[in-house]
């Protein structure tokens, strides 16, 4: 396990720098808090959605702009094995509501002062181990159901699938994000104006 385990200083230091900023940003948005994550699932606090949609829109515009300038730029799209994506997503959502964190926010929550995330992080490592043991039994079964392939790869993007320009999707996402944000902000202003519920 300790033969050639170190990938080298350059990638490790760059990863460390990016991780430092990532953890910092997550804490500043308070998405490292259980109450914020559950607040999103209970439709009370929309911080998670605001962070994610903004990151997707800003990130997407930049990445497709870089790709327009350099068509050889490698993308990092995960396999469209739809049954695995859906079932995995459904299981993930259950776990996220129970734990109150996802893997990234949970890791950062440890630095932010959450103590109950410690057993959660240990559980995550166990869960990954359980999956590794199950994987040999599903790799030719469940994971092959609902696979979408375009141009001999299942790492498929919406533009590849539909033969539409990515800019149509990014423009639509931007409009959707702005409209959703305006609705949320308006609703939040209204609920603040009302006196607090007495429960």
């Amino acid at each position: 396990m300790f033969e050639n385990f170190f990938a080298g200083w350059e990638p490790v230091l760059m990863g460390a720098g990016i991780g430092l900023v990532f953890g910092f940003l997550l804490q500043k948005a308070a998405v490292t808090r259980y109450q914020t994550i559950l607040g999103q699932f209970l439709f009370k606090d929309f911080t998670v959605l605001k962070v994610m949609l903004t990151a997707i829109v800003v990130g997407g515009i930049g990445i497709y702009a870089m790709r327009a300038m350099n068509p050889d730029m490698k993308m990092h799209i995960k396999n469209a094995a739809l049954l695995g994506n859906v079932v995995g997503g459904l299981i993930f959502g259950v776990g996220m509501a129970i734990l109150g964190y996802c893997p990234g926010t949970g890791t950062a929550a440890l630095g932010d002062g959450s103590r109950h995330v410690i057993p959660g992080l240990l559980g995550m490592i166990v869960g990954a181990g359980v999956y590794a043991e199950v994987y040999p039994f599903i790799k030719d079964g469940l994971l092959k159901i609902g696979v979408i392939t375009v141009d001999e790869t299942s790492k498929v993007s919406l533009p590849q699938l539909t033969h539409l320009s990515p800019w149509w999707f990014l423009a639509a996402l931007t409009v959707i994000a702005v409209v959703v944000f305006l609705i949320i902000e308006r609703a939040e202003r209204r609920s603040k104006a009302k006196p607090a519920d007495s429960v």
């Binding site: 760059m14 500043k28 903004t54 994506n85 997503g89 993930f92 129970i98 995550m124």
Partner: protein, 184 residues
């Protein structure tokens, strides 16, 4: 004006834009996409490997990340460092804001299930198992699939995002009900 680094919270739009820009940097400089849950799989493999290395190097899943006994792959790589430093990044952000936040049992949880620390710890442990099993089955988590995949307009990631959000909402309402909304 107060130093922005010392503010307790930033606008979620500012943080979202920051994560978006951080993704550009990760793509351009590292040729990678932000993600975290693969590191949990590597860690599980390394820990299992301490007692049963042959088993790990013979497992088709671990082979993807750790290689084989003849050709081991480096596991202390960029994402491993990223995940460890996320803890420090959040710690620095909290300390700069003079945060004294320590949470054993969240408020919403206490309201619904009582103040027992060990009950919450046990359920958090189980939640972690479920969470990572789902992430690995889907091929990623909120960062790798949701944010990085979402911005690349990946079919798999949008399917994952919608599925996980829907099931998170249903689970949260089953656990806490509409009355839980006044405790978050």
């Amino acid at each position: 004006m107060k130093n922005p680094l010392m503010l307790t919270t930033w606008s979620p739009y500012v943080v979202g834009a920051g994560i978006g820009i951080l993704s550009w940097v990760t793509f351009a400089w590292m040729g990678k996409a932000l993600g975290t849950s693969t590191t949990m799989a590597r860690t599980a493999g390394v820990l299992t490997g301490l007692v049963a290395p042959d088993h790990v190097y013979g497992n088709a899943y671990y082979q993807k990340y750790l290689g084989t006994a003849a050709e081991p792959k480096a596991w202390f790589e960029w994402q491993f460092a990223l995940v460890i430093m996320m803890i420090i990044g959040a710690l620095v952000a909290a300390k700069l804001a003079r945060s004294t936040f320590v949470e054993h049992v969240p408020e919403l949880w206490t309201w619904r299930f009582g103040p027992s620390k060990w009950k919450r710890y046990l359920v958090a442990f189980v939640g972690g198992i479920v969470l990572l099993f789902g992430a690995r089955l889907a091929g990623g988590c909120t960062s790798g699939h949701g944010i990085s995949g979402g911005m690349q307009l990946a079919v798999s990631s949008w399917v994952f995002f919608l599925a996980m959000f829907a099931s998170g909402v249903v689970t949260a309402f089953l656990m806490f009900g509409a009355k839980g909304r006044s405790h978050v």
